[in-house]
Symmetry: C2
DNA sequence: CTGAAAGCGCTTACAG
DNA sequence: CTGAAAGCGCTTACAG
C-alpha cells in the first residue's frame, strides 16, 4: 500500500476530496456525522496532507526562518546557543516550525544569496535574525520586499516600517551598573566596551556615560577600551588597558557582557589583581558560566527566554494580521548580585 | 510588479517554461547562449522557483528534520545546545537546511504525532534524532515506514535496517578512565552512572566494569550510584553515595559525563572533600565549563562536531543513493588531562 | 535543442 | 451541505 492522497481518503470515506479538505481545514459547514466518518478514515490511515499541495494552493508554511549571523566563536558560546531553544520553543507554542541557518557573515555574497533564497523560494512565512549588524543591507532589502522580520538587537530610527518587529536590551542598563558601583563607593570606573556594530553595545556605552555624568564622575580615556563581545576580546582589551595604567588603576570595571567579563577575569589574574579585592567587575547578560567563576560574577541579567518569546509572538501576531502589534520592545535588566563587586571606602 | 513565476521569466527570455526549468536544474542539453540569456533574466529579476511547485513535481525538500528529545534541563546545558550548530553546519555543507523541533518526551502522544506529522507532510527528506531513548517506538515505526533516520547515541543489535544511520560514543571509554586512574595509583574507584535509557550510559557502565575486571579491582556496590546525565542528578547521587561511606571513601570517582561531574564537585565541596586532594574526579564529554571549574576537570572528550558531521554526511549520502554507506559509526574519546585527578601512593 | 502538455496534491470559489 | 472543476508553480517525459 503506497502513500494515500486526499482522493483515496475521499473514496474510503465515501465523499469528495472537497469534503476531505473541508474536514482537515476545520470548515464549519460539514455535518458532525460526515466529519467523524472522514476523520476516522484519516486517522486509521495515518493520512497527513502533503505540504507541497497545500502550499501550492495558497496555504502558509507555518515555518519561521532563523538566521543566526555571527562568528564561530559566538556559536560556541554557551549563552547564545541557548537562544535556539528559546526561539524554537516560542515558535512551537504558536504552532510554527523553525528552519535554521548559521551564517558566518553577511558580507559574503553567497551567504546573502542563501538567505534571500530561503525567503524567495517560499520556504518560510517570516524570518528571525540574531547577531546581524545594525542597518544590515539585507535586512533592509527584505523589509522593503514586504517580508515580515523579527530582529534581535536591531534598532532603527524609523520604527514604523511595516512588518519589522524588534526586541532590544533596555537602554539604561549601563547607567544601572554605574549606579550600583557608585553605591558601593566606587568612583574610579573603567569600561570594556563591546562591538559597536551592534546597537546594544552603542546604547550601553551611551548609558554608562549618562551614569558617569549623573554622578559627576570623570570620563577617563585611559580607562575605556573596546573589547568586543567574546571572552578573548575582553581579555585583550583589559590586559592592554590595565597594563597601561598600573600606577593609576580603576577600582571597578564594567564589561559590555559576561563573556567579555570572563576575559577580564583572566587579564586580572595574569596581572596579579585580585577580584574583587583590587578590582570589582560587573558584566551584562546573566551567563550561566558566571555562576561558576571564582568569584561568581555580578551582572545585569536579561531574560532571554522572554526576549525571544516577545519577538516570536509579535512576529506571529503580525503574520496572523492581529491589530496593534507593538513593533519595538525593550526588555529590562535585573541586577544579579554575586561576588565580583565589593564595597570600598571612597 | 508582483512576484514573477517561471512563465514570466520564459517570456522575458523568449523561451518556454520548459527551457527555464532546464536551465535552473542544470540540464546538459541547453546551448550555452540560451542558458546565459535565461540566467541573465533570472538574476535581473531575483527569480527563485517556489519550492511548492518544485516539491509537487517531485523534487526533494533538501531539508533535514532535527528532533531534539530531552528534558528542559538538558536544553539549558551549554554543551548540548552546541549540537545544533554542529548539525546545521554539517547539513549546510551538503546543501541541506535544518528544520528543528524540541520535544520534551516521546511518551506524550501529541509529541509523537507532531514528529510523525513533519515526516508525513513531506517537509523533510530525513530526520536526525538526538536525545531519544534507545529502541524508541517512534523511531522504529518511522524506520519501518522507510524513512531515512540519523540517530545519535542509538544502538540496535540489528544494525542493517535500511536507512538507519547511527553515530555512537566509543564503547571503551569507561575502561580508559579506569586505566588512567589505575595508572595514577587509584584502587578505590567509585562510579556515578548515567541514565540507562540511553545506550551510551549502559555501554559506559559495562566498560567501567571491564576496567575493574582487567585490573582486578573490587566492584563495591556502595561506591556505585546512578546519577543521570545532568548536574543535579550527579550532585544528588554523589551526595547520597559519599555520605553513606564517609568512613570508607573511594579515592576517585568516574562520572558518567561532565555535567554530572560538576554536580559531584558540588557534593564534595559540601562534604568538605577536597578535589583532587581527597577525591579525584574524571568525567566524559569535554564540556567547555570544565575548563573553568576549580580545579579544571579531567575528562574523556569526544569530538561532537565530528560525530555530527559523520551522522549528517552519512544520512545525506544515503539520501543521495551513495553505495556502501557505513550505517553505524563509533567515535573515539580522547583523554584531556586537567587538574581533577592526582597521583596517589597505592 | 525545444515547446506543448500532463501531472504532482492540495484548496476553494462556484454552482446547485 | 457537497461535488466537479479550476488553479496554484513547477518539472519532465514526449514528440518533433
Amino acid at each position: 500500500m503506497s502513500k494515500l492522497n486526499s482522493n483515496d481518503i475521499a473514496h474510503l470515506a465515501g465523499v469528495s476530496r472537497s469534503t476531505v479538505s473541508r474536514v482537515i481545514n476545520g470548515y464549519a459547514n460539514v455535518p458532525e456525522e460526515t466529519r467523524e466518518r472522514v476523520m476516522k478514515v484519516i486517522h486509521e490511515n495515518h493520512y497527513y496532507p502533503l505540504i507541497s499541495g497545500r502550499l501550492l494552493s495558497g496555504k502558509s508554511t507555518k515555518t519561521l526562518g532563523l538566521f543566526w549571523i555571527g562568528q564561530p566563536q559566538l556559536a560556541s558560546d554557551s549563552l547564545v546557543s541557548n537562544y535556539f531553544m528559546h526561539i524554537i520553543d516560542a515558535a512551537a507554542q504558536r504552532g510554527y516550525l523553525v528552519l535554521s541557518s548559521v551564517i558566518d557573515n553577511l558580507t559574503d555574497k553567497a551567504n546573502v544569496n542563501h538567505v534571500r533564497r530561503i525567503f524567495m523560494e517560499g520556504r518560510i512565512d517570516a524570518g528571525i535574525f540574531v547577531g546581524e549588524n545594525n542597518n544590515e543591507p539585507l535586512v533592509e532589502e527584505l523589509s522593503s520586499l514586504g517580508m515580515t522580520l523579527g530582529l534581535f538587537d536591531y534598532y532603527h530610527e524609523n520604527e514604523d516600517v511595516p512588518g519589522r518587529i524588534t526586541v532590544n536590551f533596555e537602554r539604561d542598563s549601563g547607567e544601572k551598573a554605574i549606579d550600583y558601583l557608585y553605591s558601593l563607593g566606587h568612583r574610579r570606573i573603567a569600561l570594556i566596551d563591546g562591538d559597536f556594530s551592534r546597537i546594544s553595545c552603542v546604547h550601553r556605552h551611551e548609558s554608562y556615560m549618562r551614569g558617569f555624568m549623573k554622578h559627576n564622575l570623570p570620563v577617563q580615556n585611559k580607562w575605556i577600551a573596546a573589547g568586543g563581545i567574546v571572552s578573548q576580546g575582553g581579555y585583550e582589551a583589559a590586559k592592554r588597558m590595565l597594563s597601561a595604567c598600573m600606577d593609576d588603576l580603576p577600582t571597578a570595571i564594567c564589561a559590555n557582557n559576561d563573556a567579555a567579563a570572563f576575559g577580564v577575569y583572566k587579564a586580572c589574574r595574569e596581572l596579579g589583581l585580585s577580584i574583587p579585592g583590587q578590582i570589582s567587575i560587573i558584566g551584562h547578560d546573566g551567563h550561566e558560566r558566571g555562576l561558576f567563576t571564582e568569584p561568581p560574577l555580578t551582572t545585569l541579567a536579561f531574560d532571554f527566554r522572554a526576549m525571544f518569546a516577545s519577538l516570536v509572538d509579535r512576529v506571529v501576531d503580525t503574520l496572523e494580521k492581529k491589530e496593534n502589534v507593538p513593533q519595538s520592545v525593550f526588555l529590562p535588566s535585573t541586577l544579579v548580585e554575586r561576588a565580583s563587586c565589593r564595597r570600598i571606602d571612597a
